[in-house]
């Protein structure tokens, strides 16, 4: 019965959505704000990637909110998993970790790791010039660290994980604070919160667009650290339960 009602609900909802989307002005959207931003973004913010001007300038507060949501999700998961750990396992019961991975994987990793970091940071630093930016670059950096754990699970001892976790928490926290501090500096010096300052510089050069690249670096570091520490938390639980 419940499956049947779910089916009715889903088909009703999809029918509704199809009818609604058929009415939308597809390909001729009303461009009240969009047109303004397309016309003014380059001279307002000095970026060549207009998406960045929306993400960091026009709707900077939303980006701060998204960062906070990611942070909240990570703390929530940490809170749940740490509770589970406390009740379930004592650290002393752990003996063996996962087995060694083979030669090829390890060396491929050694090759990939620096490359991934370079690509990640490139994407972050050029967020105001080319497609990409803090969120995307941050994920690439996190994936570099996670590959490391996947390929060499046996190499990281408990104390190593603990200190990595500590460092990640501090990076995470400081990058979030940096983002807000840049915004607060504008507020204190009499402008609006998050108002871009510094000169726009030469359009298209790396050193341009005022404070926006700095905001993106903070976003990138925060996203990277957040995801890495989330993955490490999950990994930590898994490997401990395997020894049970």
């Amino acid at each position: 019965m419940s499956k049947f009602s779910t089916l009715i609900f889903i088909s009703g909802l999809s029918f509704l959505l199809i009818v609604i989307t058929a009415q939308l002005p597809i390909a001729h959207p009303p461009m009240l704000i969009g047109q303004y931003i397309i016309d003014h973004a380059v001279q307002d913010t000095g970026v060549t990637n207009i998406v960045t001007s929306v993400v960091l300038a026009y709707r900077g507060l939303d980006t701060l909110g998204e960062l906070a949501i990611l942070f909240t999700a990570a703390s929530g998961v940490g809170l749940l998993l740490s509770n589970k750990l406390n009740t379930k396992l004592q650290p002393s019961t752990k003996t063996v970790r996962l087995s060694n991975s083979n030669f090829i994987i390890e060396h491929a990793l050694n090759l990939l790791f620096p490359l991934l970091l370079v690509v990640g940071f490139y994407v972050i630093f050029h967020g105001h010039l080319t497609p990409g930016g803090g969120f995307q670059g941050g994920v690439i950096i996190a994936s570099a660290f996670f590959l490391n754990i996947l390929a060499k699970p046996y190499k990281s001892s408990d104390s190593e994980i603990e200190s990595t976790h500590n460092n990640l928490t501090i990076i995470e926290s400081l990058s979030g604070v940096t983002f807000i501090a840049i915004g607060l500096y504008a507020l204190i010096s009499g402008h609006d919160f998050l108002e871009p300052f510094l000169s726009h510089g030469q359009l298209g050069s790396l050193w341009s667009a005022g404070t926006l690249p700095f905001l993106y670096i903070a976003v990138g570091l925060k996203v990277g650290a957040e995801l890495s520490s989330l993955l490490i938390t999950l990994y930590d639980i898994d490997s401990e339960e395997l020894t049970d």
Binding site: L17, P30, F71, S75, G76
Partner: protein
């Protein structure tokens, strides 16, 4: 005025900093939250006092004027709620923590409270649809964390919180869909700007559907009729102060979101009628299930659903009058229901075990009776005047008479179960004396008394109070 943007920014910076500071010193990290709350209160209190009646202003972000940038809209109503949020968080702040074995979880919990605070303030102040969505999502994610970490969670209880997560997450998706629809129909997100284009572009089938999606999405948090099944389950497993926060404050913030969209953008007859139906059904179902409840928390949860239904019914009255009554209901319910949840920490949760409570602790029972009399709407308490106003104004709208009949019937049901409970408390039952009275936190008891005093004072100042709320509603735009 610009400093009011700190209401969102400072809790966020605090939440980010707490985990790092806790690595250095846990005791410093503990004081960050209360300090931020007190500092923010010292900004908003004077701002609220100084704000002249009818005056309003906007805070811009990133130096772009609305509708191109995001703006916070400051008027009496939003500032009042900003103050209430800060005071409520001071009350429910986890001062006495003894259910945590390690500092890690405790620190994370402080962060989550601050994030919830930032999201609530943002929801009250912001006037940009997508920005509101971001804060709503932040509120939702922070509340998953807080609910799921409750120590009582196991078995059925964790299933309850998982169901809440599913319901709330699908609500968020529908909300986002609704906002996306509005944006693709109008090309703008600023609510004030939307109200100027609503008549031509949102008066269509797709426009109404967008509002429905938003209503259902937000309705999850606002305890609205079809999507409120999480309420009794979740309130059953979380701590009572946290229930007071969710039932008292968070639900009202969600209703304010709906009121903003409804009043500014969607003053259409068909939508108002729909809101009326949803509200009346909420009142009826809430009271009927509360009548069957044999457990204090369940009863309070369902009565909370019914009260929120009354707020929706009030919103169905067109224009500023509806907003005035809805705001009065919200403030009244915020005080009374939070007080009842705080008070319930002193009582046994099973109704049968409450027999003879009066002989154990007469003051608690007197306080309880006082609160429910106002909740029911017995003269001369504030609840009566609000309900009277609602009934008088409902008679002027379509289907209003049906709504009046149902609201009055629901009041009778509510009176029946509340007075049965009171009768049990007054009964002279020797055997139950010891278990009826529970030793909860003294602070909760204190807050219940404080809220009851606020209610008592407002009973004597009812005319001046109603006038100022009416002015507040009239000056909102």
């Amino acid at each position: 005025m610009k400093m009011l943007s700190l209401l969102v920014v400072l809790p966020l910076i605090g939440a980010f900093l707490i985990p790092a500071i806790a690595r250095i010193s846990v005791s410093i990290a503990k004081f960050i939250g209360p300090l931020i709350l007190l500092y923010l209160l010292s900004i908003t209190m004077p701002a609220f006092m100084e704000l002249q009646s009818g005056q309003s202003s906007a805070i811009h972000f990133a130096g772009f004027l609305p509708p191109y940038g995001i703006a916070f809209y400051i008027d009496e109503l939003s500032l009042l709620f900003a103050n209430i949020i800060l005071i409520a968080f001071l009350m429910v702040w986890p001062w006495n923590k003894n259910n945590f074995s390690d500092n890690h979880s405790e620190i994370r919990e402080y962060s989550l409270y601050l994030l919830l605070l930032a999201a609530s303030s943002g929801l009250v102040l912001s006037s940009d649809l997508f920005n509101l969505y971001v804060f709503y999502e932040l509120l939702a994610v922070a509340s998953y964390g807080l609910i799921a970490k409750q120590p009582k969670i196991e078995g059925i209880a964790s299933a309850a919180s998982f169901r809440y997560l599913l319901l709330s997450a699908s609500g968020s998706v529908l909300l986002l869909l609704g906002i996306a629809l509005i944006y693709s129909l109008t090309g703008t997100l600023n609510i004030a700007h939307l109200s100027s284009v609503a008549n031509e572009s949102l008066n269509t089938f797709a426009g109404v559907a967008a509002f429905l999606l938003i209503l259902i999405g937000i309705g999850v948090k606002a305890e609205m009729f079809p999507v409120n099944s999480w309420v009794p389950e979740v309130y059953g497993v979380i701590s009572r102060p946290l229930s007071a926060l969710f039932a008292g404050l968070i639900s009202k913030i969600a209703v304010l979101f709906i009121a903003k969209v409804l009043l500014m953008v969607y003053q259409q007859d068909s939508i108002l009628t729909m809101i009326l139906f949803i509200g009346v059904l909420g009142v009826l179902t809430g009271e009927l299930i509360a009548y069957r409840a044999r457990d204090m928390v369940r009863m309070l949860s369902f009565s909370s659903i019914a009260q929120l239904g009354l707020v929706f019914t009030a919103l169905a009255i067109p224009g500023k009058t509806g907003l005035y009554i809805a705001v009065a209901f919200m403030l009244h319910h915020l005080v009374v229901k939070s007080a009842l949840f705080f008070l319930s920490e002193k009582m046994h949760s099973n109704h049968e075990h409450l027999k003879g409570l009066y002989h154990q602790s007469p003051f608690i029972v007197i306080l309880f009776i006082f609160l429910i009399l106002s909740l029911l709407g017995i003269p001369p308490f504030p609840g009566f005047w609000i309900k009277l106003n609602l009934v008088l104004n409902l008679s002027t709208i379509t289907y209003g008479n049906v709504a009046i009949a149902i609201v009055l019937l629901a009041t009778v049901i509510e009176a029946a179960y509340l007075f049965t409970l009171v009768k049990k408390m007054l009964a002279n039952d020797e055997s139950n004396k010891q278990i009826a009275y529970q030793t909860g936190y003294q602070s909760s008891y204190l807050f219940a008394v404080l809220l009851a005093i606020i209610l008592l004072v407002s009973t004597f100042n009812i005319s001046s109070l109603s006038k100022s709320i009416e002015n507040m509603a009239n000056n909102t735009n």
